[in-house]
Symmetry: C2
Subunit: 495 residues, 2 copies
């Protein structure tokens, strides 16, 4: 078997008259309100949320139905055009912007935003892929249920994008990643056919679990157009705490104790360094520290339960008292109200932005086994400090998932451009140390454009070949979201 | 793209001297204690647990290391031999027996039975695929953790087989299927290479999630040789109840109430029909009914929590009192001791065997959306009763997962052979009604040999093509577990 991978962005030319004909047919497919070629209207769709990754496209399509998506794919295929599927364009890794190196048609699913059905006995919600995450959360709430995916971008991101990137977020510890929140999918394949896998089953061993292929593949294998999502009992009692901990190791022991005492009802367990919280307090004057003073490490903990008869505040206070006795916590405040809980979360959520307000920041979205976090933080921080004199390291994130956002702020005495010029070197140090501990260089954001070379650089040949074989198998012409996930075309599969 | 599928069992011949040479090299690979050709020793490996499916093999191999498995695959590939990977051979669908139609080498992983590592901070256990499920449960217990997969065959089945078949069982409601219990895999591919995906990460979006392909593929894409499993906090308090419910609909409302009141800590919710429990009491005289009298429907419920300070008995008693007031329960007994809890489970676990002791039984392992269970049971039972006069229907199982074991016992006035001759027709009625409700004809047992035609019969062309494309992509010569899952070779993929 020799697979000639053409999955990358090719420079193939299409004759101008053929292109014009194709664009005309695409416009007809979606009707007058479903397309745009106006540069101003295209602007937010060809640039990544971060503003760093920019491409171009001759046409933005906004189909209203799955069948229109299927026709679009068929037409693009017929004319040799490529497709960039797009949700809210909030991946932060350029997963949904065109490269501009070829003729890439943007297919944005914003108009496919219907909740198709809610079943509160099966605890499922069936949705179009273009539904905003926030709308889905609200619809679940309206039905006295919880859809637990929780992201900073929830007001802008679409569930199709969440599924395509297997988004993580703040509730993974309790409810899992997006992959764990879905029972069925509808996908338009690269050959233009529609796969209807919209089954709301909690057990289904009838052949290969095809939906798993599309979840996390970032639109490179097909376009997700619908999903059957899991719903959960709505939390009736929630408690949030901010605690100072003597060390990261102590934080891990505290996590184990919380898991034990709550029977797994820890919703969040977030690491916050003192250096980072200092910047939050500096740049967000409305933020208040609930503790007497900042220590090197703090954690934000959340317990929740759908049982309204059990107070999570009481439970959390008891667990933290036990932790204090055991020396795992040096100070702690449990929220007394919802607004206080929100103010605790504001500290955590301000960390990424405060870093960037302080100066240009280079950040890795990595994960290692939870047990390796203390060593990883120590060794990686030392390596960065040695390489970048005066670097301010802000490592924070989802400790309970092993997911650390490892950020380095520009040293005060270095010019921003000189610091950013070392971006590859600094990412290299973070990545090298992540992999030493059996980790991943993309924990929750995906690979997109930004890290499209990571698999070929950091994973072994066998793993690369498996991924390329799947890509080739489902998208042999490489038309789906070219250049993302795999920098295909650089190697050939040979047997 | 035209894929010439050769995934089925082919009748290709291999020259006797070439075969002898291949067998010699295979024996050398595993050494004197790693192989057998003795018919008596091969017997339990070529017959399915049910005794129904029987095949043949010239050689049983028991490799001791992953590298030996890789060499075996390479040699088989070189000589055109096929491979049947085998764990405990307890799939009940003939997933691990050779067909005997070609030269199929049995590769049993029983000697690869080491626990490689336990990490109680990362809450992971790294194991060889040949570890018995019961050994893994015991090792978790030794480390004050829980590995929650719970199956009737746990003393005989191997974790590799559980993973290959994505086994379900009694704890799925709380902890998910086997797929949900694994973080990393090691797989020997059909080209003889080893894929090392043994990462213990809870978030990893670095490309396609390859392990998902092998989980549930029943050995048709590669041989799972190792896994990183998730561990959980060990339950400190458990409560079990048997309840009479006025209807299946009431049972579903009771399930929703239990989920709400426990914050999702319902470990089991099992449906038991009065007709079935009558047979259990008849054939297992040691079993006792804890209720005053049998009703048409009973449920067995289990709550558990790792929090030793909260009594699950108290919690369950309160929930059942509330349910009684709401008319969801007509009678209920909560276990007062572990031994009483075991006696409740004996009723549930006796159901399948009691059916078979009563007479030849035809049983479907199906799942439908939970909300469809009442209608499914009513309509499917009526259809069966109409087709098979005097049929005794025993429908029981994992109500909380939508998974019903729909059994029909031979009518008293029909000869066993005449009843069993209608097996295809009866399965057809069950399957037809299952699919009407958006269900699956294999919920937790997989397809194996028994249901290898189901995908081609019951799923649409797009889904079939996707599965065949993946099979072709990862096992182009069709050497891995031929004839299982997909009755490949019957169709050709054409584009």
């Amino acid at each position: 078997m020799t697979l000639d991978m053409k999955a990358g962005v090719s420079g193939e030319q299409i004759r101008p008259d053929r292109l014009a004909e194709a664009l005309e047919r695409l416009k007809e497919t979606v009707g007058p309100s479903g397309w745009s070629t106006h540069p101003g209207l295209l602007e937010p769709h060809v640039v990544d949320w971060t503003g760093v990754m920019r491409g171009s496209s001759p046409l933005l399509l906004k189909p209203a139905r799955t069948e229109e998506v299927a026709t679009i794919v068929s037409i693009c295929r017929e004319y040799g055009l490529k497709i960039v599927p797009q949700g809210g364009n909030t991946s932060l890794v350029g997963g949904a912007v065109p490269s501009g190196k070829g003729v890439e048609i943007l297919v944005n699913l914003a108009r496919m935003n219907k909740v198709r059905a809610v079943d509160t006995i099966n605890d499922t919600m069936t949705v179009d892929a273009g539904c905003l995450l926030a709308s889905i959360q609200a619809e679940a709430e309206k039905n006295e249920r919880l859809f637990p995916l929780r992201l900073a971008s929830e007001g802008n991101c679409q569930i199709g994008g969440n599924l395509a990137s297997n988004a993580g977020g703040s509730n993974v510890l309790r409810y899992g990643n997006t992959r764990d929140l879905v029972l069925g999918l509808e996908v338009v394949l690269a050959d233009g056919r529609i796969w209807n896998g919209m089954r709301g089953l909690r057990k289904d061993n009838m052949g290969y679990d095809l939906k798993q292929l599309f979840i996390g593949s970032e639109g490179t294998l097909g376009i997700i157009t619908g999903a059957v999502l899991k719903l959960f009992a709505r939390p009736a009692s929630v408690a949030t705490a901010v605690c100072a901990v003597p060390s990261v190791k102590a934080a891990l022991d505290l996590l184990a104790l919380c898991k034990q005492r709550t029977g797994g009802q820890v919703t969040a367990f977030e690491l916050m360094p003192g250096t980072g919280l200092e910047l939050v307090l500096k740049h967000f004057p409305a933020c208040r520290l609930p503790l007497e003073r900042l220590c090197e490490w703090q954690v934000l903990i959340e317990f929740s339960s759908s049982d309204e008869t059990a107070s999570q505040q009481e439970r959390m206070t008891a667990v933290l008292a036990e932790a204090y006795e055991a020396g795992l916590v040096s100070d702690a405040v449990v929220s007394a109200s919802l607004s206080q809980s929100r103010s605790f979360w504001a500290l955590r959520e301000g960390l990424a932005e405060a870093d960037m307000m302080e100066g240009p920041t280079i950040q890795g979205d990595i994960a290692v086994p939870i047990s390796s976090i203390p060593d990883f933080l120590e060794i990686c921080s030392a390596a960065i400090s040695q390489a970048v004199k005066g670097a301010r390291i802000i490592a924070f994130g989802h400790l309970g998932d092993g997911n650390i956002h490892f950020g380095i702020i520009q040293p005060a005495d270095v010019l921003p451009k000189d610091f950013l010029a070392r971006s590859d070197e600094i990412h290299g140090i973070i990545n090298h140390n992540t992999l030493r501990f059996g980790g991943t260089v993309s924990a929750e954001h995906g690979l997109g454009t930004l890290k499209a070379g990571a698999v070929l650089k950091y994973r072994g040949e066998v793993e690369q070949d498996l991924m390329l074989a799947i890509k080739h198998s489902l998208d042999p012409s490489g038309m789906m979201n070219p250049g993302k996930v795999l920098e295909a075309g650089r190697r050939q599969l040979q047997e």
